[in-house]
């Protein structure tokens, strides 16, 4: 009996915890995010508005009704807050700056208080809230069900909001007295804080146990595909929706970013610690998934790597090369001024150096390991060899759909990857900012895909002309002195193939090619024009094969 009861209770508790957690998240995103933005704007304006501000904190629907009451509460709280800060007499700028720092935490506290209330309302108002009680048993069935519950709860946040308001009143009443008895109120507020913290700890703990259970449950319920890390991501991404739309309305992302950091710090911290652990145990970490992972890695860097030597490598930077990576390691990390005969020599030197000095530790953070410049076989081999060293830790992100194809078995064993999914949906702002940049020299080489795309938009005759040129170039690929096909010969060939009927039409076609950078013309020593396709022969062969398949 007893045990059954307990187990039942346990289950109930779990369920409620899940709900809380999500409600907490939800409220934090929705209100916390919005609030801070507003607040930031207001901080710049004047004092009155700051005092009024918490009205927005509470439910806006009930705003009119409770206006007066809230106003008083807020006043009281504000005074009390300043008392606690020890700067009651100080008005003006100091307070603002102080508050500016403090507010996010207060928001979190407030939100966690709010988050605590629904549970109470559930347990006390069981009858008034039939829907929720129905949800609970569903919850215990499986994870997918609990997701539904979260959502329902989310939808009902307005509905539930009555309870928080009641609680707030209760909580704030003692504070209201604080005008007269400052000491008492101080202790009281500490209590409050304690409660809030407890609540937070509680939820944290629950998250842990929930994770464990989720792991256990994976076996039985294939539907729920979540694991702690992923779940974390997912939670985070749910924040990102809100963040996203805020970003949409006003392109400043900075503010909401801040809240995210505050709210998820604990969870992220745990994740980062795990990464550090795994890195130290000889694994390397690779992040994949839609959305820029730069911010995540940056945060990892700023939280965990402050005291370590680390190198951040922007793979998306068009001028990046393995040589420059190795150079920055030898010159800046190891303070070596000499030069090396080749990249491999340099690599050997680095490897020896790191093997000799076992106390040396280096973290490599590579954004976009799969970028154009680094995806080559040799580059990957070198980076892989670096990462296989015991005291070099690599954490990288990949974005390309086919990025894993870069690595064969040998490289994969060098890298010793642990994969982490990080779908963030954030913009690739930084990563794409170098595209078509004037500061960066474009290599001018055309990959196969663009070649196909351009050619597809042309007439069949133009394609035929181009094909002729390709074939001629491929026939001559073994000739080291090949400078191109002379215009006259080309014209002759085109005429024979019934592709053009006059000198002029061919020239018109060629202009088109030239505009797309498909061909280059050169004047030979004899003053004749020679035509050349500035694409390497491998690509051309591929292209021809593809063409033949299609037509």
């Amino acid at each position: 009996m007893m045990s059954k009861l307990e187990s039942k209770e346990d289950k109930m508790l779990e369920v409620q915890f899940v709900g809380d957690d999500d409600v907490l998240n939800h409220i934090l995103d929705r209100e916390g995010g919005a609030k801070i933005k507003k607040e930031r704007a207001q901080l710049l304006v004047n004092t009155k508005k700051i005092i009024k501000k918490p009205e927005y904190d509470l439910e806006e629907d009930d705003q009119e009704v409770l206006k007066d009451q809230n106003y008083v509460e807020v006043l009281g709280r504000h005074v009390q807050e300043s008392l606690k800060n020890g700067s009651a007499t100080d008005g003006g700028n100091k307070v603002y700056s102080f508050q500016n720092r403090k507010h996010p935490e207060k928001m979190a506290k407030l939100a966690s208080e709010l988050a605590k209330t629904p549970r109470k309302s559930v347990s006390s108002n069981l009858k008034s809230d039939p829907e929720i009680t129905i949800d609970i048993p569903q919850c215990s069935k499986g994870h997918s069900a609990s997701d539904k519950v979260q959502l329902k709860n989310n939808d009902k946040s307005e509905f539930l909001s009555t309870a928080p308001r009641g609680l707030r009143k209760r909580l704030i009443v003692p504070r209201f007295h604080s005008d007269s008895e400052s000491e008492y109120s101080a202790s009281n507020s500490e209590d409050d804080e304690g409660v809030a913290q407890e609540c937070e700890e509680d939820t944290n703990e629950v998250i842990l146990s929930e994770q464990i259970q989720a792991q256990n449950r994976v076996v039985s319920a294939p539907v729920c595909k979540e694991t702690p890390s992923k779940k974390m991501k997912r939670d985070k991404t749910s924040d990102l929706v809100e963040e996203y739309f805020e970003a949409h309305s006003s392109s400043k992302v900075l503010t909401s970013d801040r809240t995210l950091q505050k709210l998820k710090r604990a969870k992220l911290d745990q994740l980062f610690h795990k990464w550090m652990l795994q890195l130290h145990l000889g694994f390397n970490i690779v992040l994949y998934g839609l959305g820029s992972k730069r911010d995540l890695l940056e945060r990892f860097r700023t939280t965990m790597l402050q005291d370590c030597i680390h190198v951040v490598i922007n793979g998306f930077f068009p001028g990046i090369s393995v040589k420059s990576i190795l150079n920055s390691i030898t010159e800046e990390v190891l303070n070596h001024m000499g030069t090396f005969r080749s990249v491999l020599d340099q690599l050997d030197w680095i490897i020896n150096k790191f093997k000799e000095e076992s106390s040396l530790e280096l973290f490599l953070l590579i954004h976009n390991l799969d970028s154009q410049m680094l995806r080559g076989d040799k580059s990957q081999q070198i980076i892989g060899q670096l990462s296989s060293l015991r005291n070099i830790y690599l954490i990288a992100s990949i974005d390309h759909l086919n990025a894993p194809l870069m690595w064969d078995h040998a490289k994969q064993s060098l890298y010793n990857w642990l994969w982490y999914e990080a779908t963030t949906y954030s913009h690739y702002t930084e990563e794409t900012s170098y595209e078509n940049s004037l500061l960066v020299k474009q290599s001018g080489s055309l990959p196969l895909s663009s070649l196909t795309h351009v050619l597809r938009s042309l007439t069949p005759n133009a394609r035929g002309i181009f094909r002729l040129l390709i074939k001629y170039q491929l026939d001559n690929q073994d000739n080291p002195y090949y400078i191109g096909l002379s215009f006259q010969d080309f014209y002759q060939q085109c005429r024979e193939a019934f592709l053009v009927n006059s000198d002029l039409t061919l020239r018109a076609q060629l202009t088109e090619f030239r505009d797309h950078k498909l061909i280059r013309t050169k004047k030979g020593t004899d003053g004749v024009e020679y035509l050349l396709i500035p694409v390497d022969n491998g690509t051309l062969t591929d292209f021809l094969e593809k063409e033949e398949e299609e037509f």
Partner: protein
């Protein structure tokens, strides 16, 4: 310090003063961000201990498995080199001297493991045969020049170890020597002469060898350019009399490849002997056998995890290294995520640790599902005691843990025994390898499975000598373990053996009987009688079959095995406290080891609801929710017309989708707003095509 710049892509960060980077002990990462109270330090230590043991065990296994191969290789090297030693003038030897002794080492496709094998091979050779061991990889040697350069520099390095004084001069000269076979052989002569002088003093192991051979290992023979190989072989065969070269080819596919790569003229210069390394599957079996199917390591894998690991092995890489890595990861995850894993150590230590468990940990024990189930089965006062009294709980936990260990010893013995019986049945209903049997046993109650039933059916049809052989093996299994628990069983098996043997004599007598009756029956020649007697004989035989002692005994044996399986091969999930030892988060493992980035991208683009969990995003096939992230909308529009998309059309469509929900007339959108909207897909556009044009 910013990490973006238009002029450089690498940013080095060094902490201000060097002393600050005193590295944080790894344990800190293990317990940070979690509750401190849950013995995390102890857990981490236990993890490291177990991992070290497992690692050294696997290394030992590797060595053991390679030993045979290496021994025969060494023998081959010594034998083939003796010709050079003797320097005999005999014609046969002269001919043979033209041929480079070559060992073709077929290693299998698990390329990642080869490195390790070669490393230990080099070591073994250097210790036993010759100091001059060089290994080359195809990617270092695109042409002859590089090939010789690498060869020479590695050879000289080998030599440098011997004469460290000359290190400097050698390194200086290294850059200047034009590498050729000539220079190599002169170098070899000078070196061997020198070492000859030194030899008696230094007491080199193969002291009887005046000129140690040069062993060249080509790690991946298939990927070498044929031209380089041919040239090298032809040249070096010319120099063989002064430069005793022995080749070792590492071959991943099949030995035929040597002849495919080299024309007859070249391959006739080689004197090839084939060596086959142990197949990786057998290797896996031994590793599993020694790491998991043993009570030596308390850590165990659940069925799903084992499946994931073996599947990665069998369908992806055949790499033992990766398998071990997976094992390491699961070990780490287990200790990281399960607070009670602190008890995952050997029994006496675990018992000691139980006494020091904190209240929190006791609570954790009570929360274990398996423990809860166990409590529910107890009498009510015991339940109360278990749930309230810490001391009682600890005692109970101790006994439960002990039971768990006993369960494992019995389990593995019976498993092996059953494997002996089922591994050679026709069609292998329960698998050939013990790991397959183990997997089925972990997955469900084996006696309920069809395969088990059919296996027993087949056992009932086996002949006596087969059964005897199995029994013998089984008996050995039981004997090899010193455990007392199943002593009875061993005795039973011995009895069975004895009974089967005693059957022999009786059987002979019976046979005589039947032969007599047969001869009697054949005396009559008329048809009717013949038929009648045949019928009689048939009936007689059937009757006698039913009564044969052998059959009775066989029936007994089968039911005995069945009872063993029923009694001991219980599911681990039924054991209380199994969570302490079993790691079951198969999904985490798969996600980290065998991720599917393609699927993740696809889901993120097509079904943002999966990640964002926003009700508004839940949509039917084919329609585009306007609140979805821009990139998803852009992607779906892109799918509509994926070949050559008009940028303006695209952004127009995008604007329509986005603004539709805001109940705004597209015309009323100011141009500024529209511009802003359009900007987003443009940004994502740059990333998008690169993703799905391929």
């Amino acid at each position: 310090m910013a990490t973006s710049s238009v002029s450089k892509g690498c940013f080095v960060f060094k902490p201000d003063f060097k002393k600050r980077k005193i590295s944080v002990p790894i344990e800190d990462y293990f317990n940070k961000g979690k509750n401190e109270s849950e013995d995390s330090k102890l857990r981490f230590e236990t993890y490291q201990l177990i991992w070290q043991q497992m690692k050294s065990e696997t290394e030992r296994l590797q060595e053991e498995l390679n030993k045979n191969l290496f021994d025969s290789l060494i023998e081959f090297l010594q034998k083939s080199h003796s010709g050079f030693q003797k320097n005999s003038r005999d014609w046969g030897c002269q001919i043979k001297l033209r041929e480079i002794p070559t060992a073709a080492l077929v290693l299998g496709v698990n390329v990642t493991d080869h490195d390790l094998t070669f490393r230990s091979l080099t070591e073994v050779l250097q210790n036993n045969v010759t100091p001059y061991v060089v290994s080359l990889q195809a990617k270092d040697c695109p042409d002859m020049k590089h090939f010789l350069q690498k060869l020479a520099s590695q050879l000289m390095d080998c030599n440098v170890d011997v004469q460290s004084k000359e290190k400097e001069s050698v390194q200086v000269t290294q850059k200047k020597i034009p590498y050729s076979m000539d220079s190599l052989s002169t170098w070899y002569m000078s070196v061997t002469q020198k070492t000859d002088v030194k030899m008696p003093r230094k007491k080199r192991t193969p002291s009887q060898w005046q000129s140690p051979p040069v062993v060249l290992i080509l790690k991946d023979m298939e990927s070498f350019t044929t031209k380089v190989l041919q040239d090298f072989i032809i040249i070096s065969s010319q120099h063989l009399h002064e430069f005793p070269l022995i080749l070792i080819f590492g071959i991943a596919t099949s030995p035929v490849v040597v002849h495919r790569l080299l024309p007859h003229a070249v391959s006739s210069l080689l004197c090839i002997e084939l060596f086959q390394s142990l197949s990786c599957k057998e290797h896996l079996t031994t590793v599993l056998d020694k790491l998991l199917l043993t009570t030596q390591f308390p850590f165990k894998l659940s069925e799903k995890v084992l499946q994931v690991l073996t599947n990665i092995f069998l369908y992806h890489d055949f790499s033992i290294q990766n398998f071990i890595k997976g094992l390491q990861l699961s070990l780490l995850e287990h200790f990281y995520s399960q607070p009670l894993s602190v008890l995952c150590c050997n029994l006496p230590e675990a018992k000691r640790r139980i006494n020091f468990l904190s209240d929190n940990q006791c609570e954790n024990i009570r929360r274990l599902p398996s423990f809860r189930r166990y409590v529910e089965k107890q009498a009510s006062e015991k339940q109360v005691a278990l749930l309230t009294n810490e001391r009682f709980l600890k005692e109970e936990t101790q006994s439960l843990l002990e039971n768990l260990h006993v369960y494992h010893t019995n389990y593995f013995l019976v498993l092996r025994c059953l494997h002996q019986f089922t591994s050679s049945l026709p069609k292998y209903p329960l698998g050939r390898q013990i790991r397959e049997l183990y997997c089925t046993c972990l997955e469900k109650n084996i006696q309920d499975s069809e395969e088990y039933a059919s296996a027993l059916q087949l056992l009932r049809m086996l002949a006596k000598d087969e059964l005897m052989a199995m029994l013998q093996k089984c008996f050995k299994v039981f004997k090899s373990s010193s455990e007392k628990q199943l002593g009875n069983t061993a005795k039973r098996i011995e009895e069975f053996l004895a009974q089967f043997q005693s059957l022999d004599a009786e059987a002979k007598e019976e046979e005589e009987d039947t032969s007599e009756s047969q001869s009697k029956g054949l005396q009559k020649t008329d048809l009717y009688h013949l038929q009648k007697s045949l019928l009689e004989m048939k009936e007689l035989r059937r009757a006698s079959k039913r009564q044969t002692k052998f059959e009775v005994l066989r029936e007994q044996l089968v039911s005995f095995i069945d009872s063993l399986a029923r009694e001991y091969l219980l599911l681990p999930e039924t054991q209380p406290l199994h969570e302490v030892l079993y790691f079951s988060a198969a999904h985490t493992l798969r996600q980290h080891l065998n991720a599917a980035p393609r699927i993740a991208l696809h889901t993120a683009l097509n079904n943002p609801y999966y990640y964002l969990k926003n009700e508004a995003l839940r949509s039917d096939e084919g329609c585009i929710p306007n609140v979805a992230p821009d990139i998803c909308i852009a992607y779906k529009l892109h799918l509509e017309c994926s070949r050559l998309i008009n940028l303006v059309d695209w952004s127009e469509a995008f604007a329509t989708v986005v603004t539709a929900a805001e109940k705004m007339d597209a015309n009323s959108v100011t141009s500024e707003e529209r511009n802003e909207i359009i900007q987003y897909p443009l940004k994502s556009l740059l990333q998008c095509p690169s993703k799905h044009t391929e």
